[in-house]
Symmetry: C2
Subunit: 446 residues, 2 copies
């Protein structure tokens, strides 16, 4: 096959980031009103004005005209739970009760033949339909759940991070492993999946409450043996959780100290949710380069509290954003950022549309240390792309009639947007399904 025939170019309004809008302002983003993203072999080969790039393309190149839609790097979700897609929207409980009453019940089903596969297919369908092309995913305690997840992700060629949960106490017997088995299972999964195609492994002790010291030590051993793997866990989400964790680890300085003591607090560590942090803990995070993962819909839904974004930045702590399905209530990173805006507004902080869109693309890519691969439209990056129609709903189209500039349009997109605004998603250059636009109910006045 002639390589030229595989060239594909996406035409539309291009938007991506080369820096952080909160520190670099308008210099942080690149916007091309009529641009082209040229893709071959799953990678972005060129990006620029259509007028400049079109004449350079071979005649056989496929040009997909997405004008006037926005073309951005695919969204990145830094924390979610694959076994919880049927736990989402469970009623009326703060964290610990919610875990016991809903989550641990559903997660036991992952032992059933075919169930992890089913949940994974649903999850990846939903993420891709929402424009999310990379996520850091907790599977269940069952090794098979991670096997199923990676196998499906590999089949779709998505750039995913996942791990089998390690959990050896304070959970139903059917959901516990042991320090030894969790080490062995995780090790086997790492050897099989980490770095295979686009799959990456995250060592996943659920949190200090459900791991014995022996298990955290095993997790730390894995982290030191596989320093390029991620570590993902939970910290400082809820007061009852914090008390319990500190009680279970009486020798630790504080909650962050537990993870640090076991070698689990480093630059690869993705720590949800960091709501109730002491000054000492912020400092420990900054020194370790650990990432605080902000999950606004979850933090509101579970009543956990308000993440202090400005404080994290002031303390020099790296931040990522995430849905936290199923404590979170939306698969959409747009909706997630609308809720982030609200969480920050309640604290007198303002999140611009540029900052929000940066957070879910380049920002999360940097936090994950994957910005050389994803989160940008720069040549050389993997061609994970989302095409967005900011006027997809009638209310948004009506609102946009008065938008004066790109910043205003993008703020409407972030504030009112969700998966309905995703016109197309590309994974490594290949288009995923077909997203028709919103049905035209009452599109005309009655």
């Amino acid at each position: 096959m002639n390589e030229d025939r595989r060239l594909r170019a996406l035409r539309g309004r291009l938007l991506w980031f080369v820096g952080d809008p909160e520190t670099s302002g308008d210099a942080a983003h690149r916007f091309i009103g009529d641009g082209l993203v040229v893709i071959a072999d799953g990678l972005i080969k060129a990006v620029g004005a259509a007028s400049e790039l079109l004449p350079t393309l071979p005649e056989e190149a496929e040009i997909v005209d997405h004008r006037p839609n926005l073309i951005m790097p695919g969204f990145i979700d830094a924390h979610l739970h694959m076994p919880q897609t049927q736990v989402i929207a469970s009623y009326g409980a703060p964290l610990m009760e919610w875990l016991n009453k809903y989550t641990f019940v559903e997660e036991q089903k992952l032992a059933q033949q075919g169930h992890p596969e089913k949940l994974t297919r649903f999850l990846l369908d939903e993420l891709l339909a929402s424009g999310t092309t990379t996520a850091a995913v907790y599977c269940s305690v069952h090794r098979q759940s991670a096997e199923a997840f990676f196998a499906e992700s590999e089949r779709r060629n998505t750039r995913m991070i996942a791990g089998k949960v390690m959990m050896d106490r304070n959970a139903p017997a059917a959901l516990t492993d042991t320090a030894e088995s969790s080490y062995a299972d995780s090790k086997a999964l790492i050897e099989r999946w980490h770095g295979r195609g686009r799959q990456l492994y995250a060592i996943t002790p659920r949190f200090a409450v459900t791991s014995t010291p022996e298990q955290l030590a095993a997790a730390g051993r894995l982290a030191s043996e596989h320093p390029d793997c991620f570590v993902q866990t939970h910290i400082n989400e809820n007061q009852a959780e914090i008390s319990l964790a500190c009680q279970l680890y009486p020798n630790a300085d504080d909650y962050a100290g537990i993870y640090r003591d076991y070698g689990l607090l480093g630059r690869q560590s993705l720590m949800g949710h960091c709501i109730h942090m002491t000054k000492h803990e912020w400092r420990a995070f900054a020194e370790a380069g650990a990432v605080a993962v902000f999950c606004p819909t979850s933090n509101l839904f579970l009543g956990s509290g308000l993440f202090d974004w400005a404080r994290a930045k002031r303390e020099g702590v790296r931040v990522a954003v995430a849905t936290d399905i199923g404590g979170g209530t939306s698969y959409s990173m747009l909706r997630t950022m609308a809720e982030a805006y609200k969480v920050l507004q309640l604290q007198g902080q303002s999140l611009s549309a540029f900052a929000a869109l940066h957070a879910i693309t380049r920002g999360n890519a940097v936090a994950l240390g994957l910005d050389h691969l994803i989160g940008s439209l720069e040549p050389g990056r993997e061609a994970d792309v989302v095409v967005l129609d900011p006027a997809a709903t009638r209310a948004m189209a009506h609102r946009l009639e008065t938008a004066r500039d790109l910043a205003e349009e993008l703020f409407v997109l972030v504030t009112l947007g969700d998966e309905r605004n995703v016109a197309a998603t590309y994974v490594a250059g290949e288009r995923v399904g077909d997203q028709p636009s919103t049905p035209p109910f009452l599109a005309k006045s009655i």
Copy 2:
């Protein structure tokens, strides 16, 4: 025309309320798994099990089969601004700045020929598509804006409450009236529209900050001359607003005292937003029977604060819920209650799905004193009805696979739902438009 030919019956799962779930528990709701709502002349004639009612219907009756969808009374929205449908999602400002920078700019356009008509058509389209059949609406300062709103509402035969804003200071000159002109214009509107068909008038001083004492006195005179009209205004949304109001009315006890002093705090008074209330003000509300209007998406979006629902109930204060478009960010009362749940969770309060669905139907009807007309499926009520498909989106259908009972299904509907779940809306027995279901993008796994 034979009257029988006009009989229409809606078949589906019926849900409505006869009491408050927060005080009466399960006795507060009525649920019929296969029910019929029989409608004639715009009113509900009978309601009950399909097996019992079907044999009683004449042969010519039209039966609309909405099974397995839910059939509920149309939703009620107790506070929103018609001129702000193009202000929604404006960036980064707390209340006073937001008013000056965005709202007062857009509201000036309402003086343009045809603009109030355009915004009204959009608003009513969007409300009905969201299942909202009654709303309490602020028009602009221009008398013509209220004329346009009522004319369009009358044309659609919707049960609406609206009023021309009264505002004679602290706003652009193009947006101010005078105490005298606002009295005369409001009076003329009341005489023309209040009680005509399904239209109801609300005397609408925007808030104490934008009205002189003379204007509040004029508003109070209108309220005493027309005790069956509503009064709608704002109070205690934001600290800067509170300081300014109290500064402008130095003789008042407090912010609530300003309105009480002018005869504007009574059982017909709809007071948004009541976030920062003193004990003395809660008591004044309880004694007056005034209604505190809770607008969760707005309170979060503008960073105003958290409404204390439990406190209001404890103080014996009547509560309504509302979108507050355009400070609010969704036209959907379902989405509004999802955000209400989060606001309460942050305060350690839990809102059940029954309480949430009660609030947007019978609860708001009671707060508006209109429960003899709307908010229920009982015979004699006006046939404003919403038909809901809780499985309208893929994520919801997936989640509902594991729902064990009605309460769980309804909680999913409230938490994840929005206008996509509205399968049909009926206004006084007539179906509005056609709402196709969500497009089946990725309905099958890839």
